[in-house]
């Protein structure tokens, strides 16, 4: 048992963890943020993607104790005042959501990509989400949505 402090979605947490716990287990089981999903447990599918200190990581490949004093963003942290983030809105507008299991990870990869490269080409978008596997959409409408999101973000 170990106590750690970390910030998740702008909120400070002081939480007890097990030494062998993964960041994914900490988010889902201790903080009940079940929007972050586990699709493979091997760092392959990206369904567990979160943003840690500004960069995307597979939270199944980060130990919980490694998150001490770091800032984490999960899908639940994107809405501001009940209003969807432009990326979430673009995913809805472009029909980029089907079963939804890859969507949280996909949205966060898109956010990290756009934060670094506000006007990416379709190829750059494809590389930006190349760590997020999807079996339903065939990716094209997700690429459309991220293109649309870069326009929405410009207007803000």
């Amino acid at each position: 048992m170990k106590e750690i402090k970390l910030k998740v979605n702008h909120k400070d947490y002081h939480v007890a963890i097990e030494e062998d716990m993964r960041l994914l287990d900490l988010l889902r089981n201790r903080l009940n943020l079940t929007g972050t999903k586990e699709g493979c447990g091997e760092g392959e599918c990206g369904a567990c993607t979160v943003i840690m200190d500004g960069i995307t990581v597979n939270s199944c490949m980060v130990m919980a104790f490694q998150a001490e004093n770091r800032e984490i963003f999960t899908i639940e942290g994107l809405e501001k005042g009940g209003r969807l983030d432009p990326i979430q809105q673009a995913f809805l507008d472009e029909g980029a959501v089907q079963c939804g299991f890859c969507t949280p990870g996909m949205v966060l990869s898109a956010k990290a990509l756009l934060d670094k490269n506000p006007k990416p080409t379709r190829e750059e978008i494809r590389e930006g989400i190349s760590g997020n596997l999807c079996r339903c959409t065939g990716y094209n409408k997700i690429v459309d949505a991220i293109e649309k999101a870069s326009e929405y973000r410009k207007e803000e």
Binding site: G35, K37, E38, G39, C40, E76, L92, D93, C99, F101
Partner: protein, 419 residues
């Protein structure tokens, strides 16, 4: 008829909950005081077994270890009841469920699995469906491994082939593949007075309800299936995986029980697309008009039938492709082997034959020096066409329109054969 909602790009009614992470998939559901369940699966393809769960049951934190002895009616299956909820005497594939540990948490459940002793007395196994069809091959269920044989006959195949200017013969092989829906199987079961409630992700909640009720020998109304958000299916969630295990566990312990499969367990637990060996002989006249098509399709349904009968029938009906062929002979078989079991996957038996018939068409075209578009337009179904089963296509047959649209967009023309 002016339509104002049909034809519109309405926003998906379920998208907002999914894009905000609020949608609840079964693994996201946790109940007060719940136990964790884990399945022990066979790692031998064909063996007689004896099970000793005593050391697991004695472990601290283990609530119960379920085996076939706990199951009122140990048989289930979508068509044939050839599955066992837990294997009693024999395992027929790697991954067959043998026991289900119910424990206070994940770690105890995993440790307990390792404490269950299974003695395997290996039996001769068969993995090649063509070998499995022989009388002397090891049998999995009953007297024969041939689950089903579909016959399609139209016209006179010999005459058709003789009259053909060109006949092309080849064998095509497609492997078993997996649905890889992103959300691994998960479920939570709990009691609401005397009703068993199973929350899971399934393609047919009412059928899961029926199979649970039959296995536990309770009335259907005493079972309620809640279909949480489903993380993709593609046919892979038509067969039972953990639903009966969870229902039985909650019924016998009175406490909520949750199980979540790892990706590796998902790979060995659920059905696969049937592997098929398809031998085709197709004949056409000088102008590329199809005269005859003979196909022998062998489907490997692995250790259990699941939808093999409907799937191999669909393969047989669709073996011709969307073309009018006067003389047709098709035999499609579903055969048991000790491979993982074959079941529904997107296309349900009609996905494999096009790998054959569309390449046969191109080979005929090449032999007759016709381009691939023309040979398809010559034979393509249209309103009034008769299929090989004698069915008249009476309405909405825009196949030629589809071929022409694709040909035009891709700039198809007679192209060199890559020589």
């Amino acid at each position: 008829m002016k339509l104002h909602v049909v034809g519109q790009n309405n926003m998906r009614v379920d998208a907002a909950a999914k894009v905000t992470g609020k949608a609840l998939y079964p693994e996201d559901v946790s109940l007060e005081g719940m136990f964790i369940g884990k399945t022990l699966r066979s790692h031998k393809p064909h063996a007689c077994i004896t099970i000793d769960t005593s050391r697991a049951e004695a472990m601290e934190g283990v609530v119960k270890v379920l085996t076939y002895k706990d199951v009122p009616h140990n048989h289930y299956g979508v068509l044939m009841k050839d599955h066992e909820v837990f294997c009693s005497e024999k395992v027929r594939r790697i991954g067959d469920p043998i026991a289900f540990v119910v424990a206070v948490d994940e770690e105890v459940a995993s440790k307990a699995l390792a404490k269950i002793k299974v003695e395997y007395r290996e039996l001769k196994a068969v993995f090649d469906p063509e070998v499995a069809m022989h009388q002397d091959a090891p049998k999995l269920h009953g007297e024969s491994n041939i689950v089903y044989h579909y016959k399609l006959r139209q016209g006179d195949i010999e005459k058709g082939l003789e009259e053909s200017a060109v006949v092309v013969e080849n064998t095509y092989v497609t492997p078993m593949v997996d649905h890889v829906f992103l959300q691994p199987e998960a479920g939570v079961a709990h009691m609401e007075k005397d009703t068993i409630v199973v929350t899971t992700a399934t393609q047919y909640p009412h059928f899961d309800q029926l199979e649970i009720a039959e296995a536990l020998e309770v009335e259907k109304e005493k079972v309620k299936v809640i279909n949480a958000a489903v993380g993709g299916a593609f046919g892979g969630r038509e067969d039972i995986t953990l639903q009966i295990h969870l229902a039985l566990a909650t019924k016998l312990t009175g406490k909520p029980v949750k199980a979540v499969y790892s990706r590796e367990e998902s790979f060995i637990a659920h059905a696969k697309r049937h592997a098929m060996v398809m031998t085709y002989k197709t004949g056409a006249d000088e102008e590329g008009k199809l005269k005859a098509m003979e196909a022998r399709i062998i489907g490997d349904t692995g250790a259990y039938a699941s939808w093999a009968i409907n799937i191999m029938r669909k393969a047989g009906v669709h073996a011709t492709g969307p073309y009018e062929i006067p003389n047709v002979k098709v035999d499609s078989y579903a055969v048991y082997t000790n491979n993982p079991f074959g079941g529904a996957m997107r296309g349900f038996g009609a996905t494999q034959p096009p790998i054959a018939h569309e390449q046969q068409m191109d080979m005929l075209a090449e032999a007759l020096n016709i381009d691939p578009i023309s040979i398809r337009l010559t034979n393509a179904f249209k309103i009034g066409s008769k299929t090989a089963t004698g069915q008249i296509l009476k309405d909405s047959v825009p196949l030629r329109q589809c071929i022409e649209a694709v040909a035009e967009k891709l700039g198809f023309s007679v192209v060199s054969r890559g020589v």
